[in-house]
C-alpha cells in the first residue's frame, strides 16, 4: 500500500523534498516505515530519537498502524528563534 509523506524543516533535505509517496507492506506501523526510510537514506538514522510522526494530523506513537492513503508528517524539532 502507499502512504503520503510530508517532511518539515531540515527533514526536507533528507527526504529529498517536502513530500513523496512511499509503498509499505500491508499492516506496517510507523516504526516499519521509519526503518524503510533509513534503508533508503541512511542520513535518517541519527534522527530517530528526535523525529515525531503525525498520522493524519495527530501526533502519535510509533506503534500506530498505517492504512492505504494515510498522510504521515515527519516533524523534527526546529532549533531557531
Amino acid at each position: 500500500m502507499t502512504v503520503r509523506l510530508l517532511a518539515f524543516a531540515g527533514l526536507r533535505d533528507v527526504l529529498g523534498g517536502p513530500k513523496r509517496e512511499l509503498s509499505v507492506a500491508d499492516g506496517a506501523t510507523l516504526a516499519d516505515l521509519w526503518a524503510e526510510l533509513v534503508r533508503a537514506r541512511p542520513q535518517f538514522g541519527p534522527l530517530e530519537g528526535s523525529t515525531r510522526f503525525a498520522l493524519n494530523g495527530r501526533l502519535v506513537a510509533r506503534d500506530a498502524t498505517l492504512a492505504e492513503g494515510d498522510e504521515v508528517a515527519l516533524m523534527p524539532p526546529f532549533g531557531g528563534g
Partner: protein
Amino acid sequence: MSAREPESLAGRRELRRYSRHLLIPEVALAGQERLRAARVLVVGAGGLGSPVLQYLAAAGIGRLGIADDDAVDETNLQRQVLFAESDIGRPKAVAAAERVAALNRFVGIDALQVRVDAANARELVRLYDVVVDATDSFRSRYTLNDACRLEGKPDVYGSIFRFDGQVSVFAPGGPCYRCLFPEAPPEGSVPTCAEGGVLGALAGLVGTWQANEALKLVLGIGSTLAGRLLVIDALDARTREFELAIDPDCPLHGERARIRDVVESEPAAPRDDGIPDIEPGDLDAYLESLPAALVLDVREPHEAALGLAPRALHVPASVLEARLHELDPATPYVVACRVGAKSRWAAQRLHDAGFRRILHLRGGLLAYAVLHESFDFF
C-alpha cells in the same frame, strides 16, 4: 460597558493609547486592566523575541522581563527588527529594553542579561504570569519547559527554521514540550539558523503568533494552541495543525512524574562513530605537515558563496553518494562543513565506504574562521 472609573490605569492619557483595545468587547477596560496587571517573561530577544516584545509592549503589558545574555551581531539584523545598526555589539537585553521603553513608557521592564539555566529558571519563571519561549537553543527550551511546568506557568512556544515555523502553548494540565519532543536531538544533528538559515519575515509571523497567544492567556479569552501544534510553511503559504496529547511516558506528568526539579538537560551525545575530530586551531598545522591532505568541503554550492575553505575539494553532501568514486581512500581528508553537522554524517558515510584516513573538523569552518581574521567567512 461599566461606568466604573479606571483605578490602576493612570488616567485618560494612558487610556487613550489603548482605545482600539477598549472598543473590543472581549478586551474592553477590564481586559486592559488585566494586561496592565500582567507580568510576562520573554526569554530570547532575537528573531522571535523582537515581534513578541513589540506587540506586548504596545498592548500595555504591565511588566515585561527580557532575558538574553547575547550581544547584537550584524547577522541578526536581517530578522531581529527590534535592533538598529547602531546597536551592533550592545547587549540585547539592554538594547531591547530601550526600544520597548521608547514604545510605551507605561511598561515596566526587567532587562535581564542572563542565560536562563537550571540554576535560575524556576526563580525567574516564578516572578511572571506567562512565559514566552523565544530562545534559539534546545537546552534552554527544555529548561524553560520544565521550570514552567514545575511552577505552574504557561509556556508560549515558538521555533523557526528556513521557511517553517512551529507554535504551541504548553499550559498547566496539558501536554508540554517533552510530550512533543521527549529528548533533545543529538548535538549537531538538527541545523540551527546559523547553519541552515531562516527567512526574516518568518520570525515575524511566528513571533506575532506567540504574542497573540500570550495576550489571550493574560486576558483569558478565546482558545489557545494548548494541545495543538501549529506548523507554518511560509514557502508554500500553508498552515497545518497537529493534535498533541499528553505522552503517558512524559517525565513531567501525573503520578509517575520523574522530573521534580530543573536539571541541565544534556543533549544526547553524538554517537561515537570512530572518526577522530580535529580542532579548528590545529587544521593549519595538520595541512602543513601533510601535503597530501585535503579539506573535503561538503557544503552545498550556495553555501560556498559565504567563503571558501583552505586547500579544499568541494563535494556537496547531497551528491556525495554519486561522487564517492572520485575520492581516493588513500588521501587523508579533513571532512568539513559550515558548523560540523552535515560533515559528521558525510564522514560517517566515508568511513562506512572503507575510508580510514579521515578526520572531522570540529565546529566546522565557522569555528575555523573565528580563529582566522583574514579568512573572510560568515
